[in-house]
C-alpha cells in the first residue's frame, strides 16, 4: 500500500535522506529505528508533506503519487502522522478541532458531515482507548498539556481519523512508563488488517508493547538493515555503533 523509492530530502543545502527505499504492505506494522540525526523525523515529514524540503524519488500510496499532494490531501487519502512534538494551538477548542478535521476529510471524500451529537459519541469511544477524560475535549488543542497528554491526544486523533496508514514519529519520546503503556495499548487496539503503521523510534521500549512485523535501521539517510522484530532487540543490546559506517549496498540483506 506504500512504496517509497529512492527518496531524497534536503533542507537548504543539507541532504538528509539519501535514497531511501521502503515498502509497506496491507495491515503491516513497520518500525524504523535509528540514531539521532539519521533522518527519522524527516522521513515522517516527507510523508506528511511538510513545506521546506527539497524532495526527490517517489512515494506511491494506494496507487497514487503522494508527493503530488498537499498535506490535507494526504490526510484525505488516508495518511495520518502522529507528531513527535504536537503543536499547541491556544484558543482552538480540541473538540472543535477534531470535528473540523474529521468533517474536512469526510467532505473531501464526498461523505456527509458528522453532527455534533454523533461526533461526541465517536469521540467518547476514542477517548476510552487512551484513558482520557471528557475535559480533554473542552481544552484548547494541546495547550498546557503534559507530554503524555499530548501523545495521547495524537492517538485519540488517530482513532477518530481511522487512517489507512499511520506514521507515528517518536510517539514514545517524553513518556513515562504508565503513559507509554496507555499509548501503546491505544495503538494496538487500532491495528487491523486494513490499516498499516510506520512506527519511528529511537528506542526499543515502545516495540516491547507494539510488536512490529518488520524493523528497519535508518542510518545517514538510508535504510541499512531490515529484519523482523528481533532486530530491535539486537539494536537495544549493541546500539547503532555497528551500523554507523555500514555499507549501504548491504541494505535489505538478512542479518
Amino acid at each position: 500500500m506504500l512504496k517509497i523509492e529512492k527518496l531524497t530530502a534536503a533542507v537548504g543545502g543539507t541532504q538528509i535522506l539519501k535514497g531511501l527505499d521502503l515498502t509497506i504492505g496491507e495491515g503491516e506494522v513497520h518500525a524504523v529505528m535509528g540514531p539521532n540525526g539519521s533522518g527519522k523525523s524527516t522521513l515522517a515529514h516527507a510523508l506528511a508533506g511538510r513545506d521546506g524540503y527539497q524532495i526527490g524519488g517517489t512515494i506511491t500510496f494506494d496507487g497514487a503519487n503522494l508527493l503530488d499532494m498537499v498535506p490535507e490531501e494526504r490526510a484525505v487519502a488516508g495518511l495520518f502522522m502522529g507528531f513527535q512534538y504536537p503543536v499547541e494551538i491556544p484558543g482552538v477548542n480540541n473538540m472543535y478541532f477534531l470535528r473540523t478535521a474529521l468533517n474536512s476529510v469526510r467532505k473531501a471524500r464526498g461523505e456527509s458531515e458528522i453532527g455534533a451529537r454523533d461526533f461526541l459519541d465517536l469521540a467518547r469511544q476514542a477517548m476510552d482507548l487512551v484513558d482520557m477524560k471528557q475535559d480533554f475535549l473542552n481544552r484548547a488543542v494541546n495547550a498546557g498539556f503534559s507530554g503524555g497528554e499530548k501523545k495521547r491526544n495524537e492517538i485519540l486523533q488517530m482513532a477518530i481519523m481511522q487512517p489507512r496508514l499511520a506514521v507515528l514519529d517518536e510517539t514514545d519520546s517524553g513518556l513515562d512508563i504508565d503513559a507509554l503503556q496507555i499509548v501503546a495499548s491505544g495503538i494496538n487496539s487500532l491495528r487491523s488488517a486494513d490499516r498499516s503503521m510506520l512506527v519511528i523510534t529511537h528506542y526499543q521500549r515502545l516495540l516491547d508493547y507494539v510488536k512490529p512485523d518488520f524493523v528497519h535501521v535508518l542510518v545517514d539517510g538510508r535504510i541499512v538493515e531490515s529484519g523482523d522484530h528481533t532486530l530491535a532487540g539486537h539494536l537495544e543490546d549493541h546500539g547503532y555503533a555497528g551500523f554507523l559506517h555500514h555499507d549501504p549496498s548491504l541494505a535489505g540483506q538478512p542479518t
Binding site: 498537499v70 507528531f83 484558543g91 482552538v92 474536512s104 484548547a140
Partner: protein, 413 residues
C-alpha cells in the same frame, strides 16, 4: 493634553494657557498614529434637528441583548426607539438633554472642563456639542438582570459632518449592571462621531461595560471612557474596536479608593487602511487596588494597530497589583502594530507586570491542522479565530459573542 508645539513646530504660546483648546498633533504621545489631516477635516456641530432615517440593514446589525435600549442618532436621542420609561426598579435612564437644566452631580461633573492645562480639542468639542445622549443612574444596591444597551449611530448628512454624544453613568453604592455601548453608522460620506462616557462607581458597585465599535470604513469614531472608582468597586471593560477608518478607544480609569478593581480586555481587528487605536490609562491613586489590561490585535492589509497602555501608581498607593499584556497577530507584511507600555510607579510595594508580543500565523500550527485534513484557508481562519476568541470568550452575553464572531468572519462558536 499637553501640547508644546503644533504641526509646523511653532510654539503654541498663549494656547498653552488653562482652558485653551488645542488640536492634538503627531507630537502628542497619545495621538502619534492618528490621521491628523482627516481629523482636521471633521466639522463638528450640534445634532441636526431631524432624526435621520436608519436604513434597514443597519437596524438589522444592532445586536439584540435584551434589556432597556437607548438609541442616539447623530448626537440626538431617538425617543421612538428608546426605552426611557417602564424601567426595572432602581434604574433611571434620561436623555442627557432633559437633565441639563437641573443637572445631577454626575452630569455637572461630566460637563465641567477638566483640569488646569490646555484642553484637547475633541474633548472640548464633546463638551460643547455633546449635550444629548444618556444619563443612566442606578440606585443603591440595585442589581439589574438585563444589560442596558446604548446604541450610538452616525449617519453624516453631508461630507465631513461630525457629531458628539455624551453618556453619564452613575452607579450608587452596591449597585450592579451590565452596559453595552455599540457604535454603528451608515452612509458613504466621510464623517465622524465622538462619544464621551463618564462612569462614576460608588463603593462596592460593579459594572461590566462592553464597547462595540463598528462604524463604516468612511468614518472616524472616537470614544473616550472616563471611569472613577470608589472603594471595592469592580469595573470590567470589554472593547471590540473593529470598524471606522480611524477607531479610537481611550480609557481613563482612576482608582481613588482602596480595593477597587479595573479589568480591561479588548480586541482590535483591522484590515484595509484602518487605524485602530487603544489608549489606556489606569491611575492607582489609592493603595491595594488591582488593574488588568489584556488587549489583542489582528491586523491585515495595510492596517495599523496601536496599543498604548499606561499604568500610573501614585505616591503612597502601596499594595497596587497591576498587569498588562498585549498580543498581536500580523496577517500581512504591510500591516503594522505599535505597542507601548507606559509605567509610572511612584510607590513602593507594588506588583506591576507587562508583556507584549507581535507575531505572524504559526506555520507549525498551520501544518499540524493541514496534516489532519483541514484545508489551508480554513486552517488559517481557524488560527485567526483561535487568537481572537481568547478575547471574545470573555464576553458573557451569548448574543454578543455571536455578533462579534460573525463580524470577524468566522462562523464557529
Amino acid at each position: 493634553m499637553t501640547v508644546a508645539t503644533d504641526d509646523t513646530g511653532q510654539a503654541l504660546g498663549d494656547k498653552r494657557a488653562p482652558g485653551a483648546v488645542v488640536y492634538p498633533t503627531r507630537k502628542d504621545e497619545g495621538w502619534r498614529y492618528a490621521p491628523h489631516q482627516d481629523l482636521r477635516r471633521l466639522v463638528f456641530g450640534p445634532p441636526p434637528s431631524e432624526i435621520a432615517e436608519i436604513p434597514a440593514e443597519l437596524e438589522a446589525r444592532i445586536p439584540d441583548v435584551g434589556g432597556p435600549v437607548i438609541v442616539v442618532v447623530n448626537g440626538r436621542v431617538d425617543r421612538s426607539r428608546s426605552d426611557l420609561d417602564r424601567l426595572p426598579a432602581g434604574l433611571h435612564i434620561r436623555s442627557l438633554a432633559d437633565v441639563l437644566d437641573d443637572p445631577p452631580d454626575a452630569v455637572a461633573t461630566h460637563l465641567q472642563s477638566a483640569g488646569a492645562g490646555p484642553v484637547d480639542a475633541f474633548e472640548a468639542l464633546g463638551r460643547i456639542h455633546g449635550r444629548d445622549g444618556a444619563y443612566i443612574h442606578l440606585e443603591e444596591n440595585a442589581n439589574l438582570d438585563q444589560p442596558i444597551q446604548l446604541v450610538d449611530i452616525s449617519i453624516p448628512a453631508r461630507a465631513s459632518d461630525a457629531t458628539c454624544t455624551g453618556v453619564v453613568v452613575h452607579l450608587s453604592d452596591g449597585s450592579e449592571a451590565t452596559m453595552v455601548e455599540t457604535h454603528l453608522g451608515a452612509g458613504t460620506s466621510f464623517g465622524g462621531s465622538t462619544t464621551r462616557t463618564s462612569v462614576t462607581m460608588g463603593a462596592r458597585s460593579s459594572l461590566t461595560h462592553l464597547v462595540l465599535q463598528d462604524a463604516p470604513a468612511e468614518q472616524i469614531q472616537l470614544s473616550r471612557i472616563e471611569v472613577v472608582q470608589m472603594g471595592e468597586s469592580e469595573y470590567r471593560g470589554r472593547s471590540f474596536n473593529l470598524g471606522a477608518s480611524y477607531g479610537r478607544i481611550d480609557y481613563q480609569v482612576r482608582l481613588i479608593e482602596e480595593e477597587a478593581t479595573a479589568d480591561l480586555s479588548g480586541l482590535y481587528f483591522g484590515s484595509g487602511n484602518q487605524t485602530l487605536d487603544q489608549q489606556v490609562n489606569i491611575i492607582h491613586h489609592a493603595g491595594n487596588c488591582t488593574s488588568r489590561q489584556r488587549f489583542r490585535g489582528v491586523l491585515d492589509g495595510q492596517s495599523t494597530g496601536v496599543f498604548s497602555g499606561g499604568i500610573a501608581v501614585s505616591p503612597g498607593a502601596n499594595g497596587t497589583d497591576a498587569e498588562q499584556t498585549n498580543h498581536n497577530l500580523l496577517l500581512s507584511t504591510r500591516a503594522e502594530v505599535n505597542s507601548q507600555p507606559r509605567l509610572e510607579i511612584l510607590a513602593d510595594e507594588v506588583a506591576c507586570a507587562h508583556g507584549a508580543t507581535v507575531g505572524q500565523l504559526d506555520e507549525d500550527a498551520l501544518y499540524y491542522l493541514r496534516s489532519r485534513g483541514v484545508p489551508a484557508d480554513e486552517a488559517r481562519s481557524l488560527l485567526i479565530a483561535g487568537f481572537a476568541d481568547q478575547t471574545v470568550d470573555e464576553v458573557e452575553i451569548e448574543n454578543l459573542r455571536t455578533w462579534v464572531i460573525a463580524r470577524l468572519g468566522h462562523g464557529h462558536a
